[in-house]
Symmetry: C2
Subunit: 311 residues, 2 copies
């Protein structure tokens, strides 16, 4: 076993880089900008260059490196081929082949939400478990499914794309994916704001701190904590849609634990209460006692998870 590895989390603006030892300690962390020019063709060479520099700076040789794990915002199949990553201006890119050619170091690649799931399972909110479902509630919703310590990429790189399961008939506007009634439309940060607007419209007579204002998902959760009646009804709906969706996933991979991360999860444990309530109502009896936890690694989840890929 070699002693070090790299975890590289490629985003649309910056690339987060980590040097870890093979026990999973993050020894060094830095960022480089994501250059989108020329169809994102500088991205992989820039990563190769920053890795080579880090090796030089630390006096390490490639023989000491177990591998490079890399995650990107888009589907990646089991062979490490990205099909399409609009945020990187990429079409089809064979990430693994190109990085191995550029660096001479063994590389693996995965979708960013899957990397976050693997990271949280290894060193975060799901540490100590081998079977986990991670939900990332941000502007959109991402997810990652870990079974026996491995993340499920899926036949089309869509494993864990749980933001796009159908959960409701009450919407008419289409989701970004083209379908209508996706989980992402009602349980992401933007979804929570939409639910709140609908609830304010419905409960016209009920006073609420949200009424007549521009507000964010954070404002909605703050109102929930302050006992706001309309906000509470929104949290119930959020809990129903997300909890019931997780209950249906329970019948598929039957995980030990659900880990909730992303910006929306900063609302804290109160969010888990609403989700668990409906999860336990709808889950198959054998799965009802699964655990729930908040993510703990924040923006480092991807770096940890990417690194874990090569260990």
């Amino acid at each position: 076993m070699k002693k070090y590895c790299f975890g590289i989390d490629v985003g649309g603006t910056t690339i987060k880089c980590g040097l870890l030892n093979t026990e999973g300690n993050l020894l060094d962390k830095w960022e480089i900008p994501t250059r989108l020019e020329e169809n994102g063709s500088y991205i992989l060479p820039d990563i190769a260059e920053t890795i080579n520099r880090k090796l030089e700076e630390r006096g390490l040789t490639k023989n000491e490196i177990e591998g490079i794990g890399l995650d990107i915002p888009g589907p990646v199949n089991e062979d490490g081929v990205c099909m399409l990553a609009v945020n990187l201006h990429w079409g089809q890119v064979n990430i693994v082949r190109e990085m191995e050619k550029l660096t001479g170091i063994r590389t693996k690649a995965v979708n960013d939400a899957n990397a976050a799931a693997l990271g949280e399972c290894w060193k975060g909110g799901g540490a100590g478990h081998k079977n986990l479902i991670m939900v990332t509630l941000g502007t959109g919703i991402g997810g990652g499914i870990v079974v026996e310590g491995k993340v499920i990429a899926g036949a089309h790189g869509s494993g864990g794309e749980i933001g796009h399961v159908h959960v409701t008939e009450e919407l008419t506007e289409p989701c970004n994916c083209g379908n209508v009634g996706c989980l992402e439309q009602v349980a992401s940060a933007t979804g929570i704001v939409l639910l709140a607007k609908m609830q304010l419209e419905k409960d016209k007579e009920t006073p609420s701190v949200l009424r007549g204002k521009q507000f964010t998902a954070k404002d909605v959760w703050d109102a929930v904590k302050a006992g706001d009646e309309v906000a509470d009804a929104v949290a119930e709906k959020f809990g129903l849609y997300l909890g019931r969706a997780l209950a249906s996933f329970a019948s598929v991979t039957d995980p030990e634990i659900y880990v909730i991360g992303g910006g929306v999860s900063k609302a804290g444990p109160v969010l888990l209460d609403y989700v668990q309530k409906y999860y336990r109502q709808y889950a198959f009896p054998g799965c009802k006692d699964a655990a729930f936890a908040l993510a703990t690694l924040g923006n480092d989840a991807g770096v940890y998870g990417a690194a874990k890929l090569v260990l």
Copy 2:
């Protein structure tokens, strides 16, 4: 690599036994009765005895046997421990430990629906694929999830228990599992009959060959094929509930193919048409082109799948 293995499919009435070579050819197939007396405590010794006899009859030694794969009607965790199998009159039974003690041969064990999934993936309707979701439509609904050629047992032995996902608000009676609105309540053989009764009640004025009769799920599908309007509406609902559920599973493990088996699947390709219609409507765009097939191994699926466990 040794040359032979056993696949043992334990049901509530009979135990189907198979001797296979390690290429997966079924060389011999026989049955013994399932003795339920004394809390099913004869079941594993009976299996050990029939295996020993077969070895003797064939002039084989234990050294030539790769292992025994065994499936049962109930949840089995990753260590081969059955939690509860009411149809075998079993409480908790450590199948793997007991069979290995009884036979001196390496054993693995799994839930019967999971074995069928593995069998169909190996030698049946899903042959040539590594990622599959199998749905068994019988009196109830079972399922099995295969990822990278391995079946997902789940943390509580409930991996693939897809009969109990919530799919509808239109029922009030509880499912056997205690929840209300499970897939099994509307898409199993009994579920299709229930849907048909509800549809006949709703379309009071529409003529139908089913009206005023006792009928089975097979009768409903025969009516669909004969162009019966009420039966067609039932098939649409069946397709909606099952197809939309499979579309949500697509976002979890993203399989290459869905294989539909069990008694109800004898309706043939027409059944797939209704399921695919709604699957393609609701699935995440990247998963919409997944394949659909009917199971082909019939009652042998469990024997094949159990055998595959040890290869």
